[in-house]
């Protein structure tokens, strides 16, 4: 893929956003814009990064595709396969674990009939991999839904939150 093909694949608005990030770094360091670029593409393309879209980002930033695959597979906020619309992650690190985080997680698994890492068949909810401590220990147990923290959880509270998701 060359830059032009990449531009066509990514679309003008995504390219504009990537350009604005490239401009923030010194010349020839467009690599630094990788994460921002991937986030923009993920947002524009239904919540995940296809191989083709990662290749386009690599071509656009003049990097080897593997450099982009490494980043995309490393960061937990970047998804490399199709997932549900709403991302739910439950903390099971030490404070949450002591306060029943694991019970909350199994409750959700039972309720949605999916395992951690899976999405509901209707594409509504993605139960993301177990999160490590999200620094909300004082209000454990907690979970994060679409980047918003929900704390001092009970199963009732969880049901209510999940049922309200579109």
């Amino acid at each position: 893929m060359n830059t032009e093909e990449a531009r066509a694949r990514l679309g003008q608005s995504v390219c504009d956003e990537i350009d604005s990030w490239i401009a923030k770094f010194p010349e020839k360091h467009s690599r630094s814009a990788s994460i921002a670029a991937l986030r923009a593409v993920q947002h524009a393309e239904g919540g995940y990064l296809s191989v083709e879209s990662m290749d386009a980002v690599a071509a656009y930033l003049d990097l080897e595709p593997i450099a982009i695959y490494e980043i995309a597979s490393f960061y937990s906020m970047l998804e490399t396969s199709p997932v549900g619309r709403h991302s739910v992650s439950v903390c099971t690190n030490i404070s949450c674990m002591l306060c029943g985080g694991e019970a909350i997680l199994s409750h959700i698994e039972r309720k949605l009939n999916i395992k951690v890492g899976e999405s509901t068949p209707d594409g509504r909810i993605f139960l993301k991999r177990e999160e490590e401590c999200l620094a909300a220990c004082t209000q454990a147990p907690m979970m994060m839904v679409d980047h918003v923290y929900y704390t001092n959880l009970t199963t009732e509270k969880v049901d209510q939150i999940l049922d309200n998701l579109e």
């Binding site: 080897e64 593997i66 490494e70 597979s73 490393f74």
Partner: protein
Amino acid sequence: MNDNHVKLTIDGHLLEAPKGETIIQVADEAGIYIPRFCYHKHLPIVANCRMCLVEVEGVGKPLPACSTPITEGMSVRTRSEHATDAQRATMEFLLINHPLDCPVCDQGGECELQDLALGFGRGVSRFTETKRVVPDEQIGPLVQTSMTRCIYCTRCIRVLEEVGGRREIGATGRGEHMKIGTYIEHSINSELSGNIIDVCPVGALNSAPFKMQARGWELLSHVTVSPHDCLGSNLYGHSLRGKLLRVVPRENNSINDTWISDRDRFSYTGLTASDRARVPLIRRNGELIQVEWEAALEYAVGILKKAGADLGTILSPSTTLEEMYLAQKLIRRLGSNNIDTRIRQHDFRDDVGDPRFPSLGGSIREVSNADAILIIGSRLNKEVPILGYQVRKAARKGSTVMVLNPRRYDLVLPISHEKIVSPQQLVNAVAALVRALAREVNRSLPDFMSQFSLDKEYEFTPIVKRLAAADRAYIILGHIAVQHSSFADLRRLGALLAKLSDGRFGVITEGSNQAGAYLAGAVPHRGPGGVPVMPGMTARNMFEKHLPGYFIWSIEPEFDCWDGPAARAALDAGSVVAAVSFITPAMREYADCILPVAAFGETSGSYVNVAGELQHFNAAAIPMGESRPGWKILRALGAEAGLVNEFSYARLGEIHAELMSSIGGTPLAGGDMEYSGNWEVKPGIPDNKNLHAFIEVGPYAGDPLVRRAEPLQQTEDAKHSGYAWISPTDARELNIFDNQLVRISGSGSNRADLVAKLSKDVTRGSVWIPLGCGLPMHGQVMLSAIPVAAEA
């Protein structure tokens, strides 16, 4: 004390070393061993394995020796309790997930992890949980993966990036889920990919052809040198009971550092091909029949003597120096001076102006230190992979790399300026570049420059500016230039470019001993020592003329000569003695006598590389069947021809000494590219509306041995060479589609049926075809689609 040096102690030894070095470098230099996995002296430092932790006085925690720079007065302890505790802990962590499969692992016995586990590991593991398992990836026919064994040192990633020039693999995932690989499964395409096998400290990456063949400690190691390109990479041949089972690099920091090409590493797999010549054969009543050596030698000498002055001798340019010397001595004594090794060269107009021997015009180090490099007519990385690596090194140090090629190739180099012109225009384009450069530096041009056409304008400003400004410019002519119908002009122009930029000029010759051929007297215009003699016929003339007798040595003319079909016709007409290691079907038809010659690894000898370095090597294996080392065959032919006294050598060393007395001592002087000759400029290939075919010598097609190396033939590179590559514009006009079967017809009955591939990298008016397809290296052709119905 030198200002740039600091004093420190390591384990009580007072040492002095240049500022900026790291502890491990100083310790290695002093012979103090510090364990390591990720550190490799020729790779960038990443310090991710933590095996090299040492104690530095005054610092509370252990420090990684590989990445800690030395400072004045530093006191390092590598074996203190503090240090060894840290090393042991690292070892324990590394072994947590490492499988205990050493008995079935090919790395066993030469595994860095095994060695260090012995030195630093615990006898019993405290880890009782299950170990992780990592699925393997198919990364091509050369490298076998067992990724569960990986310890994430990332050496493989760095080798491909630094040496191969491209990040083809990486570490994806995180933490426990991290994995080394390509992510999207595909083969690794670097021509230097095999080096990941050597650097991998464990058995995660192993040689696929060597899989389960032998244990490292059973093998005998022999010094050898690459027979495939003009650099002469240093190798070890590993053999078991007389069979060559593996080839690995031998460090030589003036040629190949610690790296070798895949071609050098895996070509040995061709040695056991089913068409190996194993016994002497002669033709009787039209049939080739097996005979004793005595009878074959007598028969061969009969043919050679009968042809006498009209004998044509054509040797592979990878023949050893000693064999070349004996061959020319023999045939010159028999009255012929038609001998040549320049099998894929077509333009010999400038033989009179040849330097003592063709060369790079400098050392390999000088190439990697050049500050501007212009590559003309070369697919450098595939022609001479290690030279590609040296240019890459230069680029990393800031050199500007520029290319002027008749077809766009991905050289895996950071190219600053690239100019692609059609092969038909190549000569005039280089001439235009010479003119522009002369204008820029304000110098006058020699008279012959007026003979080049001024028809076309070329834009060369960035290249001209860079060459003019460079302190150490280097102009390199590659194989495509050597094979060009106007090579003499290209060479003269290249040398002129170097002169105008006060730089150096070199030619990448084919084979591993082309320079040696000049010094041994195995070219028609040179005698032993490279002294000019009354010229005989060139390889080209010999085939054009149809001589009564031919003596061919380790070549397969249908593949290896500039005009394969013409060579075939000449050989069909004359009597032929073929001294070869493999027998092609064509050879069974034209050869009257086949003498089986020991192949690569089975004979001792020496080569002179393109930088004028003389290198010796030893046999690593026993010649197969009844084949014999070439020099012994030539010695016997000499005796059979009645030259008993002149061919009475007891040892190879005597032949070498006799030749060296005419060459003079080493280092070999010569190779400067000043031309004294004066010859007509030739239009070369007409730049008209007609279609011209050009043969691409694929990286794994160039000599009989690589053509038989199965694993190399399965690579993407080998497959890529098998098509007819044509520009999309030409294809449209000719109504040709991608993947369509086409017929390419040249002059006479020459033709080839090939699958067409469309590529924008090919210029208009040219089609690039594979070696051995039945057409000469260059020629005007007609191209037409073969109707599907006619295919059957």
